[in-house]
Every structure is written in structure tokens, then in C-alpha cells.
């Protein structure tokens, strides 16, 4: 990729063309990945991309444009398009201007790893071949699909008030779907996304999959019953991200779409739970020294011992309330308007159990959830959690009884984590920018095969 974009020049160019303010967001990335199907290496991919987003304000009229850039002509036409959109926009009477406080946090999180950045297709292929070898040792277990990839990127932000700020990051991803054949058929998938390549984790995750797919193949559909639920770390992380990330966004609160509106200072979760937004965790993809509008990031408690302490703000939503941004601007795409979102949500539970077994031991009848489908269809506006358990373990009298599948759960998230919370157990693990132990609550209706 030979084209080099100068963010300050783009801001100046937009101002020359009539913008009273402009902001520029640039993402350069290089991706390598290798894929395997049915126990064999099948495909490799290499891509380089340069994405540009330009937003401009003509007084209080705002517009944005962007795209993948190949030539300097593309840059000019994007600036012109953003200005033409702004010209037709009605004025936004709440418009505070683009973020005036540009900079990086004093803490510089570890998110760029030179070794990861220098890996090539050959190295990734070698890793995947070793992974295939681990699976091949297991009887009747096959790799249906597996993929491994590295993404090296640089994000640059500038606007009429300052910048540029820039940050390099690496991203390593590995995932698989294993299938068990023979009389007992089943599949199991898992994945990891971190900012640094971790070879040992690839092997341990694969070995875990080989064990789990055997249980998954034995999972039975069972009838409906009432009991307690333990969400394994990955599923707990998923639900917390879906339910809480939008609910604590100041934009959703201001627009009347959050059940947490008007609840600052109130107990919304169990007194045992503290929820921290931490942008400085090493090797987590959510970490960054500045947010998506160039504002320095900072660590904050969102929920402290069950009590809601703050919402998350970007510059726009903060200025609506006369506050400072919490450094949580998040963009869907370089050309999108930002909105508040968490960096990494860390769930801390007071009095949590050392091991998952201790948590299981306290449950008379329930399900330990390993895999769900449809949990992303949970409703952060009403607070209703939805999920279908595609693989879990039935718990009876404090012990794992057998693997189960096909149970549907619908529950009230806030009531469950406040009134019926049983605790947490095992290691805290980070998935999709949420770090949590396995968590449990009581009084769940499991709808099954009746």
C-alpha cells in the first residue's frame, strides 16, 4: 500500500472547501489468514485496506462520507460528498462541535506486538497444520472448519481542534468447529481474539475442543423444568455485552431507550457486583489510549457494589448534559457518527468461588451453559434475556449429570442479577471485550422438548 494520507491536510482541505470544522478518521490494515476445512488446509487470504472517514460541520449542519481509498482523487471526492451532505442537512441545535480535547491517556495499553505483526501466511499455515495434527489424534473427531489470522492496523484521528493521534494495533484470531462422527454425532466451536499471537493458547483451545465435542455429541433434548443457571464465561460475557453496553450508553439513556434512565445512584445489580470499564488491559482488543474521536480514554467504575455510578459518554452526549466525555466514543465505521460504547467491561464479583466446581456444588437442579444460539437477540430495551442452549450440562444435586441441548430461556436480566444472583466462580476470562467469571442465578424456566 503506497498511498499515504495526511490527516491534517485533509482537515485543511475540507475547511478550504467551506467546512467550519472537519474530522478525519483513518484506518490502515493488513490481514493474513489461513483456513482449513475437513481436516485439510484449503485457503489463504491476504488483504490490505486503507479506509477514510470524513465528517464536516457547516456551522451546525453536519455530514459524513467515507470509504476504501485507492487514489488521492477518492479523498477529494469523499470530502466533497461530506460537504454536499452537510449543506442539505437541517441544523442540529445541540451541535457542540467536534471533540476539542484530543490526546492519549497517560497509560499506553499493550496492543501492538512486533512478533505478531511480522507473522506471515507460512507461519500461520504451520500453526494450523499442528492444530489439525492434535485433532487427528482423537478418534472420530474432525476439523469441520478452522481459521487463523493476523490483522495489523493503524488508526489515526485528527480534527480542526487538534491531532493527529495515532495508534498501532495487532489482532490475532483463531477459531474452529470440530465434528464428532460415528454413532454419536455433534459439533463444538470455539475461538479466541487477542492483540497478541499466543501459540500455546491455540493448542490448549484445540485440546479443550476435542474433549468438549465428545460431550456435545452426547447432548440430549430434555423436557421443560425450573432450575438455576450457570453461564460459562463466554456466554456470560456475551450476555453482559448485549444487555449492558447499550443500556449504559448516554445516547440510549438520553433518547429514552435504556431501562437504566433515571437510575444513577440506584442499586441495579446485586451488591456483590462491580462493573468496570477498563481501556488499559494488556492484549485485549477493546484497549486503546484514545477513543474513536481522539479523546483520551480512562478507567471508570460503571457499577459499584451494585449501584449505577455513571453512564458512558462521547463528546456529543456529554455536552448535552454539560459534562466531560468519559472517553467512550465508538464508531461503527470511519464515516459514522460516533456513539458511546465501552472499551473492556470487567465484571468483579465479591465472594466469588475459586472454582467452577464450587459454584456447581451449590446448585440442586439447573444447567451449566456451554454454548447458546440467539443470545444476541436479547432485548436491552426491555431487559429481557433470550437464549437457546445448544450445548450445556444438566446439574443435579450439585454435580454434572449429563450433557443437554435445545433448552430455551427467557428471563429478566436486571431482576435475575439483582434479586436472584447466586454468585460467580472459576477464572475470569475476557471474550469480546468483556472479562468475567462464570455467573449463576436462580429461578429460571428452561423450556424444552415436551
Amino acid at each position: 500500500m503506497t498511498l499515504v494520507l495526511d490527516p491534517e491536510k485533509i482537515v485543511s482541505q475540507a475547511e478550504r472547501l467551506g467546512a467550519s470544522e472537519a474530522e478525519v478518521y483513518i484506518v490502515k490494515s493488513r490481514e493474513h489468514s489461513v483456513k482449513a476445512q475437513r481436516d485439510a488446509i484449503t485457503e489463504a487470504e491476504v488483504h490490505e485496506t486503507l479506509k477514510l472517514g470524513v465528517r464536516v460541520a457547516l456551522s451546525k449542519r453536519v455530514g459524513g462520507a467515507g470509504g476504501i481509498i485507492a487514489t488521492m482523487n477518492d479523498v477529494e471526492s469523499i470530502i466533497e460528498k461530506a460537504i454536499s451532505i452537510a449543506k442539505t442537512a437541517p441544523p442540529d441545535e445541540k451541535w457542540p462541535g467536534f471533540n476539542p480535547k484530543i490526546g492519549t491517556s497517560p497509560v499506553k495499553p499493550e496492543i501492538y506486538d512486533e512478533t505478531t505483526a511480522s507473522t506471515d501466511t507460512g507461519f500461520l499455515t504451520g500453526l494450523l497444520v499442528k492444530q489439525l495434527g492434535i485433532v487427528r489424534e482423537a478418534e472420530n473427531v474432525h476439523v469441520a472448519e478452522a481459521g487463523i489470522g493476523v490483522d495489523v492496523s493503524e488508526t489515526i484521528y485528527a480534527n480542526s481542534h487538534g491531532g493527529p493521534v495515532s495508534e498501532k494495533a495487532t489482532l490475532f484470531s483463531y477459531g474452529y468447529e470440530l465434528k464428532r462422527e460415528g454413532e454419536e454425532k455433534g459439533t463444538y466451536y470455539d475461538y479466541i481474539v487477542k492483540s497478541r499471537l499466543d501459540e500455546d493458547k491455540v493448542y490448549s483451545l484445540t485440546r479443550k475442543g476435542v474433549e468438549k465435542v465428545i460431550d456435545a455429541s452426547r447432548a440430549e433434548a430434555v423436557g421443560s423444568f425450573n432450575g438455576d443457571i450457570i453461564l460459562g464465561q463466554e456466554e456470560a460475557a456475551g450476555i453482559i455485552a448485549i444487555m449492558l453496553a447499550p443500556a449504559v450508553s448516554a445516547e440510549q439513556v438520553q433518547k429514552g431507550r435504556s431501562p437504566l434512565r433515571g437510575k444513577l445512584g440506584e442499586e441495579i445489580l446485586s451488591r456483590a457486583i462491580t462493573l468496570v470499564d477498563d481501556p488499559f488491559l494488556s492484549w485485549e482488543p477493546g484497549s486503546s489510549a484514545f477513543d474513536d474521536e481522539g479523546h483520551p480514554t480512562l478507567k471508570k467504575n460503571i457499577v459499584e457494589r451494585g449501584v449505577l455510578k455513571t453512564y458512558l459518554y462521547d463528546h456529543y452526549t456529554a455536552s448535552v448534559e454539560g459534562k466531560e466525555s468519559t472517553g467512550n466514543a465508538d464508531r461503527r465505521a470511519p464515516w459514522s457518527k460516533p456513539s458511546p460504547g465501552p472499551a473492556n467491561l470487567v465484571v468483579e464479583v465479591e465472594g466469588s468461588k475459586q472454582s467452577l466446581d464450587e459454584l456447581i456444588a451449590g446448585i440442586e437442579r439447573g444447567v451449566l451453559v456451554e454454548r447458546t444460539i440467539g443470545s444476541w437477540m436479547s432485548n436491552p430495551i426491555s431487559g429481557q434475556v433470550n437464549m437457546t442452549i445448544s450445548f450445556g450440562y444438566l446439574i443435579e444435586n450439585g454435580s454434572i449429570a449429563k450433557p443437554v441441548k435445545g433448552l430455551v430461556v427467557a428471563d429478566d436480566f436486571y431482576e435475575a442479577l439483582k434479586e436472584r444472583f447466586l454468585g460467580a466462580g472459576g477464572h475470569r476470562v475476557c471474550f469480546s471485550s468483556v472479562c468475567t467469571q462464570s455467573i449463576a442465578w436462580a429461578g429460571v424456566r428452561f423450556a424444552g422438548k415436551d
Partner: protein, 467 residues
């Protein structure tokens, strides 16, 4: 793009000269415009575009992809060489080699019909979106309303080393409404959308205000509604819900790449009964109301495929690679999200053929069940290997002794793939297929536009989540 096509053809020649047995390319030019009105104000008006070329090279059965946004001769040659060298490196590893099913060197150009280019329309777009949004907010009990208007132009040229050249251009326009209402039971939302492969004339000709008011009224109803008790219910599904059911419960499992990798529960079931004999399922690139897929992203003509014919699994959906493995003809289902993505098997417009029942007849035989409707449905998901699927409904209705009695919210349905279609005991005579400019189907990190639909149907004994 025509200039680029010649340069790309030369790059494909280079791949053959280097020793590749096959190479193809997808040249894409894509534009998307989004207007969002939120609680009476313009939240966002943005435009984005991408253009580039993605190459696939096959060398001794190994496949590699590379892409470039630099459309110069040198950059295109570099990209194809990069793909070749990756394929060559992979070819040294053991394993099954990729072959493509044979397909003729078709030359074709296809464009979806539109009258008014939406990208050339100015303030009228904003006026319509603003009016719709303001009207949605007028309904008593509504606390928030989001109106989105979206437009897409997607032009793709597929060229391969065998001489194939296919151009497909699709213009898609649509509007969506989501409203949130508050009652003493808390917040709830409802939503709806409509999109067509058409230009701005579709936006002008549709009564969006009435659609938005209806969504707001439903949000108010939903905010006062109960969540069902979890358990097993007889369920009547409206056409959009049938589309979701088929797409999730059966469509993905019928995709040839999942069948050949062993990740589908339908592997080995071709010719076997997998559904009630009332059920016929079709994947069709050219159905009215659906997305426009005359050719897939390998340039293969999209055929109307009877996946299930009167309850019997008749065909898998395939791209050229999975067709070769399955010993089938390619069905025109090899698709990509963008020029940067690899070809995988995707549904196009997946729907059920209508039957004979009137809606009242479907209700008649339900003693205690649910009428599941789509306005507020979020989508669905399947685990094709475990055979479990789920999908969410919008604001729905309890059915007691054949009559619709009271509204329900938070209805989520689930079942087992090989079980659910055999539980369909009545199929309606109505029919509707729809697509969306705001979303689509996700698989392997790629989102593509699809269409889904069918008639109303009745399913006995679906699992429904509840408290």
C-alpha cells in the same frame, strides 16, 4: 470498471502463465447511503463507497485469495501474484484438493430495474424521513422513534480465466421504523422495514407514515403485554416469520459447503423425507419482493432450486467447489460480501411454496397457541451441526380456542432442524417474500443480502422461551 476489466483479464492470464489451473476475479463498485432520524432530529446522514478487485487463484488444488483497491496494472498484477504464491505455498500440504465443477464461459449483463436514481435525489429524502419520524413520535405512549432510510448500488463484474464475463448491478432502496413505548410494565419496542430492488420511486410511492404509525401503536401494545410462560406451543407463523424459520432451521444446513465439511446435519439425507409433505422449499434469485441475484459471484446463473420437494430433500445449494464435491451441478449460490471476501455458499431468496389454507382455518384448530408476527423480530440463528435453531418474533398474540385473545412480547422460538418441518400441519394460501437494505444474513464474517418468505403456516409443538 470496463477499463479495469481488461487489466484484470491480463492479470488472470498472468496467473495461468505462473502455473495456476484456474483464476477468477470480482471487480466491485459499491455505494451506500444512510439517513437516520432519531427522536425528531437528523442523527446521521452518511455515504460510503468501496471499489476494488479480489482475486482467487487455484494451484494444484490449493486456493488463495488476495485483493487490492489500487486498480493500476502493476497493483493488479502484484495482487494476483500474491494470491498465486500463497496458493503455491499451501499446495505443499497434504489434504483434499479443491476442484471446481465445470461451467461454461458465459457472457452476460444484468441490472435490476429502477426509474429514479436514489443517489441523485437531494433534500426530498430528508423531508420524507423527517416526516415519518415525527409522525411515529405522535402516537401516545411512544418515548422514542428511529427512522432510517437506506440506499445501495452494488455493481460487480466477475471474470475468470476460462473466459467468463458477467456483470450484475443492483439498486436497493428501503426505510425502517423502530419505536419504543413506555407503560407501567416498562419499555418495549416494535419495528418494521420494507425494501425493494428499486430506485427512489419506491420511496415516493409507499405510505411510510402509516407504516410508522402502525409500528408505534404496536410498541405501545407490546409495552403493556405479558411474556409467555416457557414451554411447548402450537404456533402460527406469518410469512416473514416463516422466512426466518426456513432460513435458520433449514437454509443454512442445506448449504453445500457446510454439507461437504461435515458441519451440516443434512449430510447424507438427499432423497430422504425431512419435512411434512405439505412443505416445498425453494431458493430463487429472481422472485418478486426478494433480492436480485440473476448470477452468483462466480458468474454462475442462479437457478430456481427446489431444495425440499413435497417433504423430500431434493438438492443442496452449491458453489462450483461444493458442487464438484457433491457431484451436482452448481446452483448459483457462490456469493461474497465484497471483493475482499472468499466465495462461500449462501442462500439467495429462500421461501416456502404456498398451500391451500385460509388464515382463519389455520387458527381454527389451535386450542392454546401463539400467533407469531415479525414487527420487532430481531432475526434468528442456527447451530447446523447440533441441529438446533432459534428465532425471535416481534409483538405476537396468544391464541385460545381458535381466537386471537391478547398480545405477547419477548416471544423466542426454538426447535430441532430435523424435527420442526415435520411438525408443519397446515400451509396458507397467501405469499410474501421480502429483503432488506439494512441487513442480511451473516456467515463466516460475511453479510450478504437475502430474501425470505412464504405463506402463513402452522407448526405443532415449538419450544417457546418464557418465565
Amino acid at each position: 470498471m470496463e477499463n479495469v476489466k481488461d487489466l484484470v483479464s491480463k492479470a488472470l492470464d498472468e496467473a495461468l502463465k505462473l502455473g495456476a489451473e484456474f483464476a477468477d476475479a470480482r471487480i466491485q463498485s459499491y455505494e451506500y447511503e444512510l439517513i437516520t432520524y432519531d427522536n425528531g432530529s437528523l442523527r446521521e446522514h452518511s455515504y460510503n463507497r468501496r471499489a476494488g478487485v479480489g482475486f482467487r487463484v487455484i494451484y494444484q488444488g490449493a486456493v488463495a485469495y488476495s485483493s487490492t483497491t489500487d486498480l493500476s496494472r502493476e497493483a493488479l498484477l502484484e495482487a494476483v501474484r500474491r494470491a498465486f504464491s500463497s496458493a503455491k505455498a499451501l499446495s505443499g500440504y497434504p489434504g483434499e484438493k479443491v476442484k471446481l465443477a465445470e461451467y461454461p464461459a458465459v457472457k452476460a449483463v444484468a441490472r435490476s430495474h429502477y426509474v429514479v436514481d436514489p443517489f441523485q435525489v437531494g433534500e426530498e429524502k430528508l423531508e420524507i424521513a423527517k416526516t415519518v419520524n415525527q409522525e411515529a413520535l405522535q402516537v401516545k405512549g411512544v418515548v422514542s422513534a428511529i427512522t432510517r432510510m437506506g440506499f445501495q448500488r452494488d455493481k460487480r463484474i466477475i471474470v475468470n480465466s476460462e473466459g467468463l464475463e458477467v456483470t450484475v448491478e443492483v439498486v436497493l432502496s428501503g426505510l425502517s421504523q423502530a419505536s419504543v413505548a413506555r407503560s407501567d410494565k416498562g419499555l418495549e419496542y416494535a419495528s418494521d422495514y420494507d425494501s425493494r430492488t428499486a430506485g427512489f420511486e419506491y420511496i415516493r410511492e409507499t405510505d411510510w407514515v402509516e407504516m410508522a404509525r402502525e409500528v408505534s401503536r404496536l410498541a405501545v401494545t407490546a409495552s403493556k403485554a405479558e411474556v409467555p410462560k416457557g414451554g411447548s406451543y402450537d404456533v402460527i407463523l406469518e410469512p416473514r416469520m416463516v422466512g426466518l424459520l426456513l432460513h435458520e432451521a433449514f437454509g443454512h444446513a442445506s448449504e453445500g459447503d457446510l454439507v461437504t465439511t461435515g458441519a451440516s446435519i443434512l449430510e447424507g439425507l438427499k432423497g430422504r423425507r425431512v419435512a411434512s409433505e405439505l412443505v416445498t422449499i425453494i431458493d430463487d434469485g429472481l422472485v418478486s419482493g426478494g433480492y436480485y441475484v440473476p448470477y452468483d459471484d462466480e458468474g454462475v446463473e442462479k437457478k430456481k432450486v427446489y431444495v425440499v420437494d413435497k417433504g423430500v430433500l431434493n438438492n443442496y445449494l452449491t458453489d462450483r467447489a461444493s458442487a464438484a464435491k457433491l457431484g451436482q451441478q452448481p446452483t448459483g449460490n457462490g456469493r461474497v460480501m465484497s471483493f475482499q471476501n472468499p466465495v462461500i455458499v449462501r442462500q439467495t431468496n429462500y421461501y416456502m411454496e404456498p398451500g391451500d389454507y385460509r388464515i382463519e382455518e389455520l387458527l381454527e384448530d389451535v386450542d392454546y397457541g401463539i400467533y407469531a408476527t415479525s414487527k420487532g423480530a430481531k432475526g434468528g440463528q442456527v447451530d447446523p451441526g447440533m441441529g438446533t435453531f432459534t428465532f425471535s418474533a416481534g409483538v405476537s398474540w396468544l391464541v385460545e380456542k381458535g381466537k386471537i385473545t391478547k398480545p405477547l412480547r419477548g416471544v423466542n422460538l426454538s426447535g430441532q432442524i430435523l424435527d420442526v418441518l415435520s411438525k408443519i400441519d397446515a400451509v396458507g394460501r397467501d405469499f410474501e417474500v421480502e429483503t432488506s437494505v439494512f441487513g442480511g444474513c451473516g456467515k463466516s464474517g460475511q453479510l450478504v443480502r437475502v430474501g425470505t418468505g412464504g405463506p402463513h403456516v402452522r407448526v405443532r409443538g415449538l419450544s417457546v422461551g418464557g418465565r
